[in-house]
């Protein structure tokens, strides 16, 4: 039967099979060994004992690309840490800090953070940087919110017009901020126009863009994705849209020292001025974050 004849034409001899299996097994072993060895270069002169450092942060920070700059710089000073960045919503990040699954947190959900510290899960909490949220939407702007100065008013207008709005609905810092704005607007959003994605900032922006709806986004993620989006910034500048990031060391951490090192490093002058203050400037024309360690609580 011809199908098997085609397949039989490819059937190698028994010896070829054994050799192929051996090569495959070898390749797999080498790959496994290589990936297990951690990401940083081993210096020939000093033998460094690697330890894992789990940093739980938000999807907004990850999607902005900040860690691609920060982590290598951190490793240059502290080569002994293999940093594992887990990007989840702030709510989940705080949960990971609670259970000790993360050693240090970089989050932007102040209310939830305060509860975290009050419950004694955190060791120390320091401000790192801030940026702002923006309300983005389609150029057509059916709810006519462009140029409004008060975020709550814009939300009210959207609710009144029943324009499609996408909420992250994932307990993240962004989601928490969104909820406070709805509260300020005295609106409980419900209806077919108010949809929940349950996903990170990047995905939510894509969905909002494709569906021509409105959403609340952090400026950093928006700018980093701007090229692929047709969404426009419609409302910005309201103090209510202020977005503060904190770094928190965690009591239940496995790598407590690493957490402390990271916190001190990210709050240090050189990092604040040289890395954070300039991040994104060449690419987006403006820096995505404003460092403010030590300036605020």
């Amino acid at each position: 039967m011809r199908a098997t004849r085609v397949m039989k034409a490819f059937r190698p001899s028994r010896r070829t099979w054994l050799v192929a299996m051996l090569v495959l097994a070898l390749a797999l072993t080498v790959t496994a060994a290589a990936s297990g060895c951690g990401g940083t270069e081993e210096t020939a002169t000093t033998s460094v004992v690697q330890s894992d450092l789990v940093l739980a942060s938000t999807t907004s920070t990850q999607d902005s690309g900040l860690f691609d700059t920060l982590i290598p710089a951190f490793n240059a000073v502290y080569p002994q840490y293999t940093v594992k960045v887990v990007a989840v919503g702030s709510g989940e990040a705080l949960k990971l800090g609670e259970t000790g699954d993360a050693d240090v947190l970089l989050v932007h959900s102040p209310a939830a953070e305060k509860i975290f510290m009050d419950n004694g899960f955190g060791l120390e909490r320091k401000a790192v940087m801030y940026n702002d949220f923006i309300i983005v939407g389609p150029a057509a702007d059916p709810a006519k919110i462009k140029g409004m100065t008060v975020a709550a008013d814009a939300f009210a207008a959207i609710a009144k017009a029943e324009a499609t709005f996408f909420s992250r609905g994932d307990d993240s810092g962004t989601n928490a901020k969104e909820k406070t704005i709805w509260k300020a607007a005295n609106v409980t959003p419900s209806g077919a126009w108010y949809q929940t994605t349950g996903q990170g900032m990047g995905e939510t922006l894509t969905i909002t863009d494709q569906k021509g709806g409105y959403t609340l986004a952090d400026r950093a993620t928006y700018l980093s994705k701007k090229a692929s989006l047709q969404l426009e910034i419609l409302v910005e500048g309201d103090k209510a849209l202020y977005n503060q990031y904190h770094v928190i060391t965690v009591k239940a951490a496995k790598n407590g020292q690493g957490g402390i090192d990271f916190m001190n490093w990210i709050a240090s002058d050189s990092v604040q001025k040289d890395l954070i203050a300039t991040f994104g400037a060449d690419k987006f024309g403006q820096p995505l974050f404003v460092p403010n360690a030590g300036q605020v609580e």
């Binding site: 039967m1 011809r2 709510g91 419900s190 996903q199």
Partner: protein, 240 residues
């Protein structure tokens, strides 16, 4: 271990209480995977049989392409369908993205190659003489094809199950084109797999475990039924 037990207890409570979101997501999973598998059968079985029974110029290439379908990375399928349906894409004007239809389309492109490839293998293993014998008893070409499909039915069934399994367990592609959207706690485009992913990110382990348990249960039930059917065929043989 308490993390597991807590989650399981909460999960069972959710299911038992008939939580509307949970059941909405369950139904979406089954509906999307079921429809995609049905469409996959309608397209895949004829193509697979045709390639097994007929020869033509370029057959070798076609058969290879079909077998590639077994190894096709679903995330590639998802990307392809996403670009196809996105606003900038050729079918963007249909506004299909982030709808159950989009998910069915993506899952169809995952199940159809699987079903077609396994059908081709199964039908191809039926000896050629069986066809000739059927014709020698007066069967028309269609009747002969039907007989061959019947002779290969055990393999065909496992192909359909494999296709359904691939569809209902798919995460990445469905997430890309479905968006896991919900409105007011009512599920719109979330499936058990994409909802589980989002729930874990949010820290809602109880609901995630609920979906995980349901998926496992579904896998067991289907495998059980399939195995019993295959054994039933064997048992009748042993009894007589």
């Amino acid at each position: 271990m308490s993390v597991f037990w807590d989650a399981i207890k909460q999960a069972v409570a959710l299911v038992v209480s008939g939580d509307s979101y949970v059941f909405g997501v369950m139904w979406m999973s089954l509906r999307v995977a079921g429809t995609a598998t049905l469409l996959g059968m309608v397209v895949g079985i004829p193509i697979g049989s045709w390639l097994a029974l007929r020869r033509f110029w370029g057959w070798g290439a076609a058969a290879t392409v079909l077998n590639v379908g077994l190894m096709l990375p679903p995330v590639v399928v998802g990307l392809f369908v996403f670009l196809l349906l996105s606003r900038q894409g050729p079918l963007g004007s249909l506004s299909l993205l982030y709808s159950p239809t989009a998910m069915i389309i993506a899952e169809f492109f995952i199940t159809a190659p699987v079903i077609a490839a396994i059908t081709m293998g199964g039908v191809g293993s039926v000896p050629k003489e069986v066809r000739l014998q059927a014709m020698g008893l007066g069967a028309s070409r269609w009747q002969t094809t039907w007989l061959v499909l019947r002779e290969a039915r055990v393999t065909l069934l496992s192909g359909i199950v494999a296709g359904f399994g691939a569809a209902i367990s798919e995460v990445g592609a469905v997430r890309m084109v479905g968006g896991n959207l919900s409105v007011n706690g009512h599920n719109m485009t979330g499936t058990m797999t994409t909802a589980t992913m989002a729930l874990v990110t949010q820290g809602n382990y109880a609901m995630a475990v609920a979906f995980g348990l349901i998926l496992l249960l579904l896998a067991f039930v289907i495998t059980f039924v399939l195995t019993r059917t295959q054994q039933g065929i064997r048992r009748r043989w042993l009894q007589s």
